[in-house]
């Protein structure tokens, strides 16, 4: 082989020793981190956040909050098991507030009884009633609409105008959608159940399933891509994905995907387009409730609403806040006014319906 026997022998020894030393050193670093964990600050100086939203989306606005208020925000981001963590930690939980990316998680927390009711004139003034819990348990911060992205080339205007149209046999083999189990679709299906009843909803979902061009897959962006590629003519997506594609300088091919489709806000003639919210809530066990409420109030205010919504091309919940020009360019639309807590109560049924008709196969 490459090295003479003796040298090789020394080399192995060295690699071994070097590794041992490194690992021992690292162990000390770890121990120090555990022992010297920074002490918790008193109320008013910091607030602890459990977040279902990715850090890179929320960090800029949290930094502004700290700048303005002097309150430091500590974050743990996780998508699975946060509720179990809150419950297990119980009264000793260090967490003060949660941020979620949809109504479903908020409803689960209401059901689990871990949220604290909040009475705040500021929040009531900033957030329309249908985007907050009637008892003040949670507050919507931004909304996004679940829309249809239809091919500019292959779909004539007026051909698809409602969610119900998606079950129309004329669209056979022309629709793309992400997994029926994704919470955005579960929420959409739940809203159909809430409006039309389970039997009609199931018939509709079967019709939609029969029209799919391919097995449900990818994220919402991937549906616009599929329309661009000619795999299908109609994709179903949340609005903000359009904004992200239209402005993607780093991946310019995504601008082409967005340019291949028109946004259709469904059901403008009747109940309005299904919207979901990202929201926030204060936890029952919080020992820094004042700071937590201050944070949510800040997020509902003019300044944060503009930035926070823009960051992800969402709609601010506060009426009158200026929209991102791109979001504005999609036009005004009528949103479904049914309270989201009610929609959300049909989630389990929606999930079982997806199983029952084998939507994902």
């Amino acid at each position: 082989m490459l090295m003479p026997m003796r040298i090789r022998h020394i080399f192995y020894k060295k690699a071994d020793t070097a590794m041992k030393t490194t690992l021992i050193a690292l162990s000390f670093v770890a121990l120090q981190a555990v022992i010297l964990a920074p002490p918790a600050l008193a109320d008013g100086k910091e607030v602890n956040l459990y977040s279902y939203r990715q850090a890179f989306l929320i960090q800029p606005i949290l930094d502004r909050f700290t700048e303005q208020s002097g309150i430091r925000v500590n974050v743990v981001f996780a998508k699975k098991g946060m509720l179990e963590r809150i419950r297990a930690e119980g009264a000793n939980s260090p967490a003060d507030a949660v941020l979620t990316a949809d109504i479903g998680r908020l409803s689960d927390m209401v059901e689990a009884g871990v949220l604290a009711p909040v009475k705040s004139a500021i929040l009531e003034q900033n957030i329309p009633a249908r985007y907050r819990h009637p008892g003040g348990l949670w507050f919507g911060l931004t909304t996004r609409a679940r829309v249809l992205l239809v091919s500019k080339e292959r779909v004539k205007p007026g051909m698809v105008t409602s969610y119900e149209d998606l079950a129309n046999p004329e669209l056979k083999g022309k629709i793309c959608i992400r997994s029926g189990k994704h919470l955005y679709n579960i929420s959409l299906i739940a809203s159909v159940i809430a409006h039309k009843g389970p039997a009609a909803a199931e018939k509709w979902l079967r019709g939609l399933k029969a029209n799919l061009a391919r097995k449900p897959q990818g994220n919402d962006r991937a549906q616009a891509k599929a329309v661009y590629e000619g795999v299908c003519d109609v994709g179903i997506s949340n609005t903000y994905y359009m904004g992200k594609m239209q402005t993607n300088e780093k991946k310019p091919q995504q601008k082409k995907w967005a340019a291949a489709v028109n946004i259709v806000f469904p059901n403008q003639a009747d109940r309005g387009t299904h919207v979901n919210i990202s929201g926030a809530a204060v936890l029952k066990g919080s020992r820094r409730k004042a700071a937590a409420i201050k944070l949510i109030e800040f997020l509902s205010g003019d300044f944060a609403q503009k930035i926070y919504a823009r960051q992800n091309f969402e709609y601010p919940v506060k009426p009158g806040v200026e929209l991102h020009p791109i979001v504005k360019s999609w036009g005004a639309f009528k949103a479904d006014t049914m309270n989201l807590a009610r929609v959300s109560s049909y989630r389990r049924e929606a999930s079982k319906m997806v199983d029952k008709i084998g939507f994902n196969y």
Partner: protein, 556 residues
């Protein structure tokens, strides 16, 4: 000496007397099995019945796709893993010195990342199909058909490419331990190289290969990232669906428990299959002789070893590197460095702790072969088969209960609150790692010990050596290769670990994997490709150092 020398007689329940080792094994087993038991306890809490609905709808699909995936990846990893392990341990050929360690490299690539990379290459907009359209003059996707990468077959291929090194590593260390004399006896009796491999080398390496293949299958079972990305509905996908979409954690725990029982039965079946067989070797007295392969055969073997490395490591690193050059500023900041240090620290500590505890348990089981102690050790190493986020819940439940009990006691008797002592600290994350990775360290140590002949320690004990000193002076030196293998496995797996870290971590704590996840979870891997590359690169150095050190340990 107080203990009888009959070390390997089968103790029955009636004859079992507690001694230090057994109690130690039980203590460690209880510690690592607590999260698993917590999942089982959660499964027993009353909940809306989920089985009738699942059985009538999606359960057959879940079971079918899971079994197909497990079998496919298991067979694929077995063929690539043992094949390359045999080639690099029995032959010399061009590039062998590099392949010895390079064949391990794909292990450093997380499965969901390789899935992402190949989707990018093979889907409609990727270079492969673009060239195809260019050449054939197709206009859009409706003009032709191309195999769908987002499928069961695609998932099988991706997982095989990054998981075969588990088999390779364990099989190779078994092959290198095999006595020359036995193989030469085969030769003398007229076995050709193929027959020698199939009738002697392969059966003798069985315990190690079984550990490798079962680790691979457990990885397949617990994977969520890849199957979710490829829209393959496996059992684990079902567990998450019941938990999160139907808000039924107890139902999810029931599914997870069913999966653990399945794995335990599978492992038990394999053990029954090899009952009463012994795998210990006559220690070789001379270095292993190797056949030199040249010419066409050399080239074929070279290509056979190059292919898995190129596909499982070369391609993903090349693609990630390309992304990283374009998107580096998203991830190139101080927090990346902190994340990298956190990753190294967690994986490093977990590796040594898991191997120390795993060795202790394996030796305890060898000393006292009673059924109770064996079962305890098996249970403690089943965490690897549980979907990560479910096991993470299993960790936080007992930990929070313990913390809250201490707090309540302190309030009651001392008049102050301790708060949560361990929940939400790095200790919680490390605990999760141990619960998850014990299968790796215990499996390696146990299969290594099986290759050491009992007569060796019988002799030592007769000469008056204590059990500690047998472990220290005989087993650990002989097991050096196996133990380093275990350190390597746990370290590299720790670098990739995501769901445990996500849920159990303290505030403001990122590792490379969690950093990558916040982008990758929304199919924006490009933005965090530098960090993804970091996971892979950080895995390379220990892979090389350890594999050199493992080969070194054979040459002494």
């Amino acid at each position: 000496m107080r203990q009888p020398v009959g070390l390997f007689s089968s103790y029955t329940w009636a004859r079992w007397r507690p001694d230090g080792w057994s109690l130690g094994v039980f203590a460690i087993a209880a510690f690592t099995a607590a999260p698993i038991l917590a999942v089982v306890v959660l499964a027993l809490t009353s909940s809306p019945d989920i089985w009738a609905h699942l059985a009538a709808t999606v359960l057959p699909h879940y079971i079918h796709s899971t079994l197909v995936l497990m079998t496919g990846v298991g067979v694929g990893a077995f063929i690539i893993g043992t094949g390359t392990a045999w080639l690099t341990s029995a032959y010399t050929f061009p590039g062998k010195a590099v392949f010895e360690w390079a064949l391990l490299l794909p292990m450093a690539v997380p499965a969901y990342i390789i899935a992402y990379v190949y989707t990018d290459l093979l889907d409609y907009a990727g270079p492969v199909q673009s060239v195809l359209r260019e050449v054939m003059g197709y206009r859009n996707a409706r003009d032709y058909s191309f195999p769908e990468i987002r499928s069961l077959g695609g998932a099988t291929a991706m997982m095989t490419l990054v998981l075969y090194p588990y088999v390779y590593l364990l099989a190779r260390s078994a092959f290198l331990d095999q006595s020359n004399a036995v193989l030469e006896a085969g030769r003398v009796l007229g076995c050709g190289p193929w027959r020698n491999f199939f009738t002697i080398a392969l059966p003798m390496a069985r315990p190690a290969i079984v550990v490798g293949v079962s680790l691979v299958m457990m990885e397949v079972l617990n994977d969520f990232g890849t199957v979710d990305f490829f829209a393959v509905q496996t059992f684990t996908a079902g567990i998450y669906d019941v938990w999160l979409n139907m808000n039924n954690p107890a139902g999810a725990a029931q599914l997870a428990t069913a999966m653990m029982v399945f794995v335990l039965l599978l492992l038990a079946a394999e053990r029954i299959g090899r009952k009463n067989k012994r795998f210990d070797n006559v220690r070789r007295s001379q270095p292993r002789s190797k056949t030199r392969l040249t010419g066409v055969r050399g080239i074929i073997v070279f290509a056979a070893c190059l292919a898995p490395v190129a596909l499982g490591f070369g391609v993903p690193v090349w693609v990630l590197g390309k992304y990283a050059l374009r998107f580096y500023e998203t991830s190139l900041n101080l927090s990346l460095l902190t994340s990298a240090l956190n990753s190294l620290m967690l994986s490093g500590i977990a590796a040594f702790a898991a191997v120390a505890l795993g060795l202790f348990m394996a030796y305890g089981v060898r000393l006292n072969g009673g059924r109770a102690i064996k079962s305890a050790a098996r249970l403690a190493s089943i965490g690897y088969a549980v979907p990560g986020a479910v096991l993470a819940v299993g960790v936080l439940l007992p930990l929070a209960r313990f913390d809250n009990a201490i707090d309540a006691a302190a309030r009651e008797y001392l008049g102050f609150s301790t708060g949560l002592l361990m929940s939400g600290t790095i200790f919680a994350v490390l605990y999760g790692f141990l619960a998850r990775f014990m299968a790796l360290s215990f499996g390696s140590a146990e299969s290594g010990l099986a290759r050491i002949t009992p007569s060796m320690e019988g002799a030592a004990r007769t000469l008056g050596a204590s059990r500690w000193s047998v472990l220290r002076r005989i087993h650990i030196p002989l097991l050096r290769g196996s133990l380093l293998t275990a350190v390597l496995l746990v370290f590299v797996d720790g670098m990739k670990e995501l769901p445990m870290t996500m849920l159990l971590r303290p505030f403001n704590f990122e590792t490379l994997a969690t950093f990558v996840h916040q982008y990758a979870s929304d199919e924006m891997l490009e933005e965090s490709s530098l960090a993804a590359l970091g996971i892979v690169v950080a895995g390379i150095a220990p892979v090389i150092a350890l594999s050199l050190s493992i080969s070194g340990s054979r040459r002494q």
